[in-house]
């Protein structure tokens, strides 16, 4: 596989995990969180700090990051999920801003904006040593996590749990009448979403061998919404299309025209105008 597209594919898959995770929260339970950069950053730093200070190895580092994301999402969700729409958005945004500011300040821990780079140890699995510095190994490693995340999240959305999510999204009051406590289910969606976002962040940090406080920034809270809306919200696959589209612009179009964001902005408007269900909805609707 040619090197350039392979590196691009690796980054794309990492972001796809993020996009799908965000869709669980946004697409399936209609919670428009602006705080997901918290989980992304927690995931990235979770694995990097585990490698640097705990010498934990990559797999354990990923697990630590995943659990950390889950815990932070639970704590944040307990506060935020009960709030109604606009207030939910703003409070999650506030959390994101607080984490960003603190991470910029606490350079002893996070390296601030300059960030922390890390040397990756080999992975020992069943007597086999794998090095992520080998490009094909790196690629398959990410592919495995991407597919696993997709399958897991697909399972969740098609399971009874997922059906409850959707019913809450469609009509929260009705769901409550049927005996489902919307708060618990929305919180569950939020926590799952946060955990998988942390996984995405840790995979991303492994790909870059680097984490930075910048990952807590507002940009990383807004971009998943862009991915979901232009790709097709509530479908898991749609957001991945959104990721691919944005990467296409950032990777290829930017070399052709520095101000590619103008084209991308126009594309966003066109897609939103033609199909509320994003690109996927448009393609399927045909």
């Amino acid at each position: 596989m040619p090197r350039g597209p392979r590196s691009l594919a690796m980054q794309t898959m990492a972001f796809c995990i993020f996009a799908m995770a965000y869709d669980l929260c946004f697409g399936y339970t209609n919670q428009c969180s602006l705080g997901h950069s918290v989980f992304f950053g927690v995931g990235a730093y979770g694995v990097v700090l585990s490698l640097l200070h705990l010498q934990s190895g990559i797999l354990l580092g990923l697990l630590i990051a995943f659990v950390a994301g889950m815990v932070v999402a639970f704590l944040m969700g307990s506060i935020c999920v009960r709030l109604t729409e606009a207030y939910f958005v703003i409070v999650t945004a506030l959390f994101s801003a607080i984490f960003h500011l603190l991470s910029l300040d606490m350079t002893w821990l996070t390296g601030g904006d300059d960030g922390l780079s890390v040397t990756l140890p080999d992975i020992s699995v069943g007597g086999v040593r794998l090095s992520l510095y080998d490009p094909m190994t790196n690629y398959y490693f990410i592919l495995v996590f991407f597919l696993a995340s997709y399958l897991l999240m697909r399972r969740i959305t098609e399971a009874p749990l997922g059906k409850v999510f959707i019913s809450i999204r469609e009509n929260e009051k009705r769901a409550a009448f049927l005996g489902y406590d919307p708060f618990r289910y929305k919180l569950a969606a939020f926590v799952l979403s946060g955990a998988f976002t942390a996984l995405a962040g840790s995979i991303y940090a492994l790909t870059l061998r680097y984490a930075t406080a910048d990952l807590f920034g507002l940009y990383w809270s807004i971009i998943p919404i862009v991915w979901c809306l232009i790709g097709g919200v509530g479908t898991l696959v749609g957001p991945c299309i959104g990721v691919a589209l944005m990467f296409f612009f950032q990777y290829y179009v930017s070399a052709w025209w520095t101000h590619y964001l103008i084209l991308f902005g126009v594309l966003i408007l066109v897609i939103l105008r033609t199909s509320r269900k994003g690109l996927l909805g448009y393609l399927l609707g045909r």
């Binding site: 709030l83 607080i98 807004i222 902005g265 966003i268």
Partner: protein, 290 residues
Amino acid sequence: MASEVASALLFYLVNGLIWGLIIALIALGLSFIFGVMGIVNMAHGDLYMLGAVFAYWIFSALGNFWLSLLIVPVAIGLLAAPTERLILRPFEGHPAVTMIATAGLSFILQQLVLMTYGGVPKELPMPLQGSFDFLGVAYPLYRLFIAALSLVIIASVWLFLHRTDYGILVRASMQDKEIASAMGINVNTVLVFTFVLGCVLAAVGGVLAAPVTQVFYLMGNDVILLCFIVVIIGGLGSLGGTLVAALVLGGVEGLLAYFLSPTGARAAVFAFMVGVLILRPQGLFGTQRG
């Protein structure tokens, strides 16, 4: 010793309040756009930036700063009106969609300015020279002026909404579009008008702030989050709430900056706001529940 601390705190407080007034002006614009039309305007900071950039261009071309206060509202109005009617109208009522649509507009605006104005931050000289002795510091007169002007503008907007016929129509549409329409109010015109008003307020804030903050194509990113926070904390639908929230934000952060590190002060203020919203989810003066 105590008086030294007291005078330092007073200085920080007043300074913070003055900044709060500028934020209030910009956030007021957002309160209209977000509160009335349900548009989560991610490009609101860029309107602030456009006001500053236009002020720079007008000053460079005509040598006069004050003309910006006349020209910018017209220019922004000419840009904003068709944008609302043609681009954003179909999205209104769907907050998340408006968020991303305006994010797209934000990308476009920022890059257009980068292409024309360039990437170098530039200075606009203060149109009002002179200072007065405020607690041992030569406090620039211009800062007091923009605080005063912001108050005047905010008061004018309030008067307009509460004392003029058209203003009452706007408020009626704010309360309930369907009933207003049923009563014969041309809601479409009101929507365009409201949007233009919101954009113009942000741009005027940019014009006033330009000589103090300097003009850079990404300067909108500094204010956007603050504006949303202020609007929500103040309470959706309450313009007075926006003003109070902005003043509280400016004042508290100003005071905290004396004790804490700069980022610490900002983080503490945000944490405080999280507390406010948990205890009072409709904001300080909110009339609507989310």
